[in-house]
Symmetry: C2
Subunit: 104 residues, 2 copies
DNA sequence: GCATCTCCTTGCCCAATAGGAAAGTACTTT
DNA sequence: AAAGTACTTTCCTATTGGGCAAGGAGATGC
């Protein structure tokens, strides 16, 4: 269990899906992410840069044969932030089931 | 169980908390919401108007003694959208636990 | 009876953000 | 030499959320 901590950066729809995907895939390739998320090259590139700048992902550039390949993984900080955010969401949403009033 | 359906309107942080609160409280008063959410009058008023315009909340104005009181409740549509959105979030987040790769 | 207060609502402004389009970079392939 | 791959960066625009301030409609204070 993580400490609930709402993270605006992760919350934004695209990044939530992106980080969630990364949380499930160890290293993921640029192309794979782009297709899964239905994003343009530029949109994905920018989001990855953003996430890298705050230290949530690690970006590794390598070559497959002679072609460049960009791979991404969640950093420890990124995973912690994601887990914390999910915990925060659960806390927010949990409220919605707490109260049972008559005549509902 | 609701059909997962990501709802951008509900997803925004303030409205997610707001709708979640409403989902827990039957009728809620303006003041209560404002204090729970730490919003200014205008910010809350605008969000409520937005939610009302798409039919997610019902706003009822009445008097307590001689003072006006604004009360809010989630409509059926609002609750459906909220439930659907929560289901969508769960689906997104669920992915993050699915894959186990060797060498993790 | 005019000013002030409550309880919102509305208008104006601004800063932040996200994404498309397109150009740029650095190679590789044809 | 031209075109393609795999991104990155720049430019632009549309949207949004919130602060601040003014409005408004009746209640209350002096």
């Amino acid at each position: 269990m993580s400490t609930p901590r709402f993270d605006e950066l992760i919350h934004a729809p695209t990044r939530l899906s992106l980080v969630s995907l990364l949380a499930a895939t160890e290293w993921a390739e640029f192309r794979y992410l782009r297709e899964q998320l239905g994003l343009s090259d530029s949109a994905l590139s920018k989001q990855l840069t953003t996430l890298e700048q705050v230290g949530y992902v690690e970006i590794r550039k390598s070559f497959v044969g002679k072609r460049p390949r960009t791979s991404v993984t969640l950093s420890r900080a990124g995973r912690a932030a994601f887990d914390g955010h999910v915990a925060a969401l659960q806390e927010i949403v949990a409220r919605s089931g707490l109260t049972v009033l008559p005549g509902g």
